[in-house]
Point group: C2
Chain length 368, copies 2
């Protein structure tokens, strides 16, 4: 059982402890002097791509690769106050101090809309306030650990935190999509090495999710079937890209993988998002997450920079079309070598993968 405690940081940001034992004391208050938390991120419409791009120009000053003894995600000590005003924690979630989306941006929402509803820029220069929320999820108080080194019980607690935050953030005004993810490794720009993930609550559907829903919609119109269910069935039928199987989950390298190491983890039943997972599904999920991640880390004899991305159904629409799944991928393509996004990928969106999905799946099955 997870015990949840709410508190506030010195600048008013919310912090939520998820403790594995009932006895955890959470009375400590944040004694830092912080400037007030008042940021107004915005988003602009790219009319050529029909996609929203966020603008958060105050983030330039965010904490950048601090030395280990300056880590803001470690517990506070008597001589140093961090973002977490407690001497230890199990899992803790708090609002990001440098967010790309913020609830308080809502105040500017009406103004921005009004300014754009006139003039020749009406179609071409659209913007909206960056209403939403960005949260940080610390997986453990141990600075030198990693997600793959967590116990299954701890992963279970992280899952409960994701579920809790998905429910809460989905209920916020203007939020259309909740995205739980982890960036790991300085090679992909992680500025804090302490084991942590993030949650973004977006005020729009992200481009990838929109395309996925468009594909699922046209597939249903054509076949009367669910695209995600049929993709999973085709992978199980072929078997050559399957990496791990459980009663409730299947992990496979996608047929058209973009990244040298990429694994998708699907629930075997149709589940729209993390809160909709049953008890047994949550229990097995902690096992399969660890199994797949440890296999990925074992393939190359090297550190594994990776992104773990939870695709959830949108908050308001198409919840019957979209299926929850985890996308795990690394930019490592060999020991000491990274896959970079260059002209074809970054400018044209046309990916070139150097490792065949079947080879990747074989390496992952044989790993450990």
């Amino acid at each position: 059982m997870v015990k949840k405690t709410h508190a506030r940081l010195a600048d008013g940001r919310e912090i939520i402890y998820f403790d594995e034992s009932d006895g955890a004391e959470r009375a400590t208050s944040d004694r830092r002097e912080l400037p007030p938390f008042r940021l107004q991120p915005t988003a602009r419409h790219d009319v050529l791509q029909d996609e929203w791009v966020s603008l958060a120009d105050f983030r330039q000053d965010r904490t950048y690769l601090p030395p280990d003894d300056q880590c803001p995600l470690c517990p506070s000590t008597p001589i140093r106050a961090t973002e977490i005003p407690a001497h230890s924690y199990d899992v803790v979630v708090f609002e990001n101090r440098f967010p790309s989306f913020a609830t308080m941006a809502a105040a500017a929402h009406a103004d921005v809309q009004a300014a754009d509803a006139q003039g020749p820029g009406e179609l071409l220069l659209r913007r909206q306030a960056g209403v939403g929320r960005c949260e940080v999820v610390c997986f453990t108080a141990d600075h030198n650990s990693s997600f793959s080194a967590l116990t299954p019980d701890r992963v279970r607690t992280v899952i409960e935190a994701w579920v809790d935050r998905t429910i809460t953030l989905s209920a916020l005004p203007h939020v259309e999509q909740v995205f739980c993810f982890e960036n790991r490794g300085k090679e992909i720009g992680v500025t804090l090495s302490h084991p942590h993930g993030q949650i973004y609550a977006y005020p729009f559907l992200t481009p990838r999710t929109r395309r996925m829903l468009d594909s699922a919609r046209s597939y249903r119109e054509r076949t009367w079937r669910n695209l995600f269910a049929d993709v999973l069935a085709a992978e199980l039928h072929s078997g050559e890209r399957v990496v791990a199987r459980g009663d409730s989950w299947t992990a496979f390298v996608p047929f058209a993988a973009r990244w040298p190491l990429e694994v998708h983890v699907y629930p075997n039943n149709h589940v729209p998002d993390l809160p909709a997972l049953s008890e047994p599904e949550r229990a097995e999920l902690s096992w399969i997450c660890l199994d797949v991640l440890r296999r990925m880390e074992a393939v190359f004899d090297d550190t594994l920079p990776y992104i773990a991305a939870w695709h959830q159904a949108p908050v308001r629409i198409d919840r019957d079309l979209a299926r929850l799944h985890l996308q795990l991928f690394s930019i490592r393509r060999g020991p000491g070598r990274l896959k970079y996004l260059a002209g074809s990928e970054s400018a044209m969106g046309a990916f070139i993968n150097d490792i065949s999905p079947e080879t990747a799946a074989r390496l992952l099955r044989e790993a450990r």
Copy 2:
């Protein structure tokens, strides 16, 4: 006047010299012993995103950051044979030895199509041969130079090479789109530091181009106007994001820029692709390319990793909708700091920019 000479490398690949003087002797032949050039890249359909992903698993062995005295793009010397069997050159183009697309893949085309036209994978597991071509464009024989250090006359020769190759590659069977680009800087994965660009001839429309055409099509249906013309007019009307203007070209930071430093260069008249440029447009292009790139390099006191991407109209369709333009962008967001693509960008396609487009435009206007 540019003198063009065709030859073949030892493994049968084509090489084309673009010489600025008529007297250049091109009789030297490639004396290396190379394995035959027989590669079969493929492409797979990502059914969730409705996008093609290329698979070129033989590229893992490609030349990777060789020492300067082993550069394969320098001219050959009496004691070392490189990819260019000549003791000097102005601009030279040759087929990439490790291509993501190849004309000879056409032989496999029919087989691949036949294999997929049956079974339950018909909609879900589609693939095609990677028919097309990948070429390397060396801008100068000087290993330690860069595009921004070229003379306007040399840029003019590079433009003639792009025009020539666009015409030739557009005429190849199965080719749908020709993409001239330059990746610069090891921070974005460039494996050879010698000043060079690349050309990809794709057997499909790239995802970004498809979305751009979709946007232009729905804009025309709605307004009876051309989207690119109106974007340019809106930027000229506002002026706050314009970086440089000429009689034939305008450079501006896009309203919804994804990258810390991003500049789009549009022809002032409607031109679908590089071969359609008039003489005066080509002449001014060499000036504005150098001007914008030098400004970008001057903004941060640091090396500038960048991508220069020529968006051209597709070969066969929508040539009235699409307008030629150059997209220049850098991942540098400050001295010593890079913009990385992490979870939001890589997994969701939702970009977050740390520098406002108006600030970037001001920095670029003030630079030099």
